[in-house]
Amino acid sequence: MIQHAAPTHRSNFCSARLILLCCLATLYLQATQITEAAIDFEKDIQPILEENCWHCHGEDEQESGLRLDKRAMMLRGGDYGLPTLVPGHPEKSYLIEVVEHRDPDMAMPTDGDKLPEQQIELLRQWITDGAQWPGQMNDKIAYTAEEVPWSFQPVACPSVPDEHEQNPIDAFLLRKLRQKSLHFSKPANPATLIRRASIVLTGLPPTPEDVLSFQKSCETDADGAYITLIEQLLESPHFGERWAQHWLDVIRWAETNGSESNMYRKNAWIYRDYVIRAFNEDKPYNEFLTEQIAGDVVGHGDATGFLVSGPHVPVATVGQEPSARRQARADRMDEILQTVGASALGVTIGCARCHNHKFDPITIRDYYSLSAVFQDVEFGSRYPELDERHPRREAAQKLNKEIAKQRYRLRDAGTWQEDWAGYGEIHFPSATTNAVRITFLSRYIGLDELEIFGLHDLQDNVASSESGATVIAAPGMEVLRNELWKVNDGEYGTERWAARVPQGEKGNPWLEFQFTKPTEIDRIRLSTNRENFFDTDYLTDLKPFNFPKYRIETQTADGTWQTVAESEKNSQLNKKFSFRQDALQKLQRLIAQFNTEGPRPSFVGRFKTPGPTHVFHRGSPENPRDEVAPAAPLVLVGDLQLDSNASGQARREAFADWLTGPTNPLPARVMVNRMWHHVFGQGIVTTTGDFGFAGAKPTHPELLDWLASEFTEPTIMASAHSVRPWSVKHILRLLVTSRAFTQESKPDEEALSIDGTSSLLWRFPPRRLEAEVIRDAILVASDSLRPELGGPSYRIHNVKKRYAQWQVLDNYSEETWRRMIYQERMRRVDDCMFTAFDFPDCGQVRAKRPVSTTPLQALNLMNSPFVMSQSKLIAERSLENTDNNLPAALDRCFELLLARQPTADEKAAVQSITNPKDLFLVCRAILNSNAFTFLE
């Protein structure tokens, strides 16, 4: 039904990719130099291996995926990923470790005695000498073809079957249908079609007026009308809201941490808005991925919410044991890897955390190399890097100028302090010094962080331990919480250092910071729990920062201390100079304005300096082994040419380049399949998050590759729509203009007997609507849906205590009349309405939602305050639209909810309603009906 340009032949595009097949999967280990062998392999070593090892790790059996009868396989190691042999290094060779019985759980041979020490020594010597193995010294390890899943192979460029179909998609489908003696169903009627296309593309049903006008246009030019409709839907700002929803599901994005306190993640929603914007702008998918991984480098700081989309346990609830903290960090890294694996790669990376992947060629080394890529990421907030023209940056620029003006007024008349809500700042005349001492004129002090800056570099905190500064405290203090290093470790939050002067003693607490060299400073920033203001919100116990009284001294060159600021003196000055009061008032107003209009700390991850990464043997952070460089999986040519000295940004940038680069066929395949899944209800690969051996094989492999190829190198109508590579809208346009999409959904007994699942698409498979579509469609019907895009989520929950559960207070009144993608998305909280409709709990990656039917759905959709109030609004609207003519109003209820006229049977079903006040019962009934909740 749509005019497509003839597909061009694409062999030239593909040749470059085919070459890559040759590079694929060559894990190459160089043969060691043959040295003078003191040990004779055949005489000394082989008998030991043969007698003790080969029974379980030989030709017939490979326990733990390990073979000890081939040198190359020993170099590669078994499932635990440790090389059995490291020639020249017995201390690094797992073989020696297990025969020495160092770990009682991993002592070899398993049955039978420990090898005699003399034999172990022979093995050691053999390895020291280079593990000479006649005839096998040049053997390389490479994955065999059977070890690499189909999806890791380069995208092929199948030619379109000659089926005389305008849309290549139909040609591929039809060929398969014909093989089964099936054919497409007849085209769906315009009313069905507009509802289907609108819901699939925008998540919203059409209004009755949209339907009428479409039906009318179809009378003269059905094809043209449909193409126009599709273009309108693709351009609708609601398109992005719909497709963002799917993306957020996959990465289980939510606005709370999960776990015990399940705290709200402040301003995390800016990431949700980024995703909506990206889909609306049709941001090329490769850029979309890159920005989410390295958005901080390219001016899209809001995009990195992706990296921290999974749940995490805040440090306060991990406990005090260092091993528990290491485990928690490893768990956080695992969440990041799961996010990347499931969304972009369609590979279950997490399976390789403790041992090599059971099914796919992903090793434990790959896992930790990949975790090295993200080693600078931590769960928390930062000021996101924004484009220069971003309104918040513009506001900040303007306000900063105003703030500077007021500070300039104050600077000549002493010192002053500023309250930034989450922290305080003390300003004093610039001084160059080796040391600063801050005395708190109180008996108690608690600080999570104290930072010192100079006028010329407001980013560089010279007090941080990272910059080399050291800190000491007044002797004899009674420490109440944590050790002193917490005050300059760069970490905000509940882990504060707190101390007091012991009872009965005199004095004040003080802190002294020593710099490594004379340093120019002019302000100190301090806080007790900045996390409360940076990371979270909606807690009853968010206490504001209280300034203690203080005295600040710097050390002069001769070692004496000179007072540079005193809180008492500030107060006196303020009394003395009225202009100071004026300036301070203005300053505080500007700060308040800055905090609302300027860049705000947002839960889109924060970054720290990455250290070296080690393989954790059997997944345990208590058992670090080889250091690994940041890299992507080797089987996908993932060497990033980096080492542990690489910066975090360099690591993530290089990874993003690899991810979207030519050696990696997965992102394109996975994304086109995901689009297919959301359009037709079931992917070409039904396991949309797993393209490995444990996943399903594609129903139409050639079609999948054709789409993947068309995604990255568009050919069809590309110039007409000025389509760029990796255009999501381009692929969706092709899908929804296919005959497969535009055909009827009615069953056919004969076809069902051949293809009961409709997976060959002889009809458009009907399906139940998701939670969001049901809610949004009800609001559309009552004309209550507020159309504005983005912004903070609408709240349905209480303001809670830190360790309490969220409770739903109001999920139905006017404040909530926005699209459900804007509903606060809390991990594992029942929203008392749509959780029953398989709305995910955001705990685990959800590549696709299950569809289940439960009586709780019925109860919610029958009796909830939301449905009751909306039914009344729809009834009122129907009456209003029809001048209170009841029969017309009855029809109108159907039009508003089903986007079509009622049939004669449906009219008959509501004949019993004779009183306008009962009209809402009709609305209540229709929105509970199958016709409303199914996509036909």
């Binding site: 406990g319 399903a696 594992r828 709780l856 009962d918 009934a925 199958n930």
Partner: protein
């Protein structure tokens, strides 16, 4: 065989109830129709499982996901009651008698770490309650739980449990879902996924939360995780019905009937265009089920018919207000089980929003007071519930599990009044169908600090619970995101020594 031909998350077609029963499990084409609730719909023969065992997929009728299903093998237990005590009950003050604690009281023998979960450690403390020999076996149980102590001969203790996390929410998750992380299906969800239920007029899996609120892991303790929503625990208690159960106040019964009549007509008409569509028929059936639940749930919640003697034995009156509420929940648990509900999970404690030790068993400070307070609430009603079930003969087919997430330390915290979390040794008990009486399985070391003889992981414990329900924990799987997921991950051995 092209495995996608068996997949149908949508457009599932052509099966009325009769033809379902006729064809179930008999041919590949009918297998295709059973996919509704089976993850991404991979069939056993096409899936490589990590453990090597072939998954046993419950044959779920899409029209009737709660229909009773056969277990993998026959065991006495048909139903299960889990009594869960959030906050961590001190094993060394209740069921795990350690004379060495008396001997070392006030001392700090070598081997005690400097820091545990909440911070610096103090000295060994003897049990805060006196232990006495109980029943015919003379097993030592403390005075903290005098009523449960009287039933010692009926119980099967596991003293050698150890877990993977010393934090409550992760510990709760691990005990109830088999993973410390969130988002995995709970034991109750797995069990109802496998077995359906005996009474479809009530939810298959009921979570009775504490009157003080949800436990720290909230809904995750009884959630469906990635299993279909049909298998989540339905959350209600003796005093608070499920959300949206009742007819809205502004509606009359006639209004409700009118609505239902219209829905029924609309759906009947719609179904004519999609004859035999399983999804549509399933939805119609779910409305009928919801209607029946609107009658049966208020009925089961109504304790008016319970005798004064019953109310008294459970301790509804005469104790703290919290004990009274918990006692009512205990009676509700029995009533649910009587009516054939497959899984009842009864909570004795909530999240700590009310303060340390006031809302659950957590006792970092003043364990003497906090444990006593929790025990007053838990002991009599729980003991009465067990006795009641026994007297009614219900323990012949009901498994009872009493569990907590970990134990407490044999030594005090530096504050000198509380015990910190102990993930390395704790005690839970079982009783009822299929379980040995008067049995103690495994031991902790002489201080109760770490599991000693026959250490039992939570995986082992959960494997055993499934086994007692007639389910093979290695074969009860669901494909999710690349793996055949299990309650026991890739671990777990059935503790055969405690099976009768």
């Amino acid at each position: 065989m092209n495995n996608a031909e068996h997949l149908l998350p949508q457009g599932r077609h052509f099966l009325d109830r009769r033809s379902f029963l006729k064809t179930a499990g008999l041919s590949t084409s009918s297998l295709a129709l059973l996919q509704m609730l089976q993850g991404d719909g991979l069939l056993a023969e096409t899936v490589r499982t990590a453990g090597g065992k072939e998954p046993i997929r419950p044959k779920i009728d899409p029209n009737d996901p709660y229909a009773a299903r056969q277990p993998h093998f026959t065991m006495p237990a048909k139903q299960v009651l889990v009594i869960y005590c959030p906050g961590a009950v001190s094993h060394v003050d209740t069921f795990d008698y350690k004379p060495a604690l008396e001997k070392f009281h006030g001392k700090k023998p070598p081997g005690i770490p400097d820091v545990t979960f909440e911070g610096p450690t103090g000295n060994i403390a003897k049990p805060f309650w006196k232990f006495r020999p109980r029943g015919e076996t003379g097993k030592m149980v403390s005075d903290l739980l005098p009523n449960l102590a009287k039933q010692t001969d009926e119980l099967c203790f596991v003293h050698s449990l150890h877990t993977e996390s010393s934090a409550h929410p992760q510990g709760e998750n691990f005990m109830n879902t088999g993973f410390t992380m969130e988002g995995f299906p709970s034991f109750g969800a797995w069990t109802t996924y496998a077995l359906g239920t005996e009474n479809e007029n009530l939810p298959a899996f009921v979570a009775i939360n504490d009157p003080r609120g949800l436990a720290r892991s909230g809904k995750n303790n009884f959630g469906n995780g990635f299993l279909p929503a049909a298998f989540q625990g339905t959350d209600f208690s003796a005093t608070s019905p499920p959300k949206n159960l009742g007819r809205p106040e502004q509606l009359t019964g006639k209004d409700d009937a009118t609505t239902r009549d219209i829905i029924q007509r609309l759906n009947a008409h719609h179904l004519e265009q999609y004859p035999g569509d399983a999804d549509l028929a399933g939805r119609i059936a779910s409305y009928e089920l919801a209607g029946r639940m609107q009658m049966s749930i208020p009925d089961v919640m109504n304790l008016a018919g319970e005798s004064a003697a019953t109310l008294a034995s459970y301790g509804v009156e005469g104790g703290s207000e919290l004990r009274g509420s918990y006692a009512q929940n205990c009676i509700l648990a029995r009533r649910l089980l009587e009516r054939g509900v497959r899984v009842v999970q009864l909570f004795n404690g909530s999240d700590p929003s009310g303060g340390n030790g006031i809302t659950n068993w957590d006792s970092h400070q003043n364990i003497l007071k906090t444990h006593a307070m929790q025990a007053e609430i838990m002991d009599q009603p729980t003991a009465a519930l067990l006795a009641d079930l026994r007297e009614r003969g219900m323990l012949d087919h009901t498994l009872v599990v009493w569990a907590t997430e970990f134990g407490r330390m044999p030594f005090l915290q530096a504050n000198g009044t509380g015990r910190d979390h102990n993930p390395d040794a704790f005690t839970c008990f079982l009783t009822g169908a299929g379980v040995k009486r008067a049995t103690s399985y495994g031991t902790s070391d002489e201080f109760g600090f770490k599991a000693a003889e026959n250490p039992a992981s939570v995986y082992d414990f959960n494997a055993t619970l499934l086994h007692l329900m007639g389910l093979d924990h290695e074969r009860l799987t669901f494909y999710h995101n690349g793996l055949e997921r299990r309650l026991t991950n890739v671990h777990g051995h059935v503790l055969r020594d405690l099976i009768a």
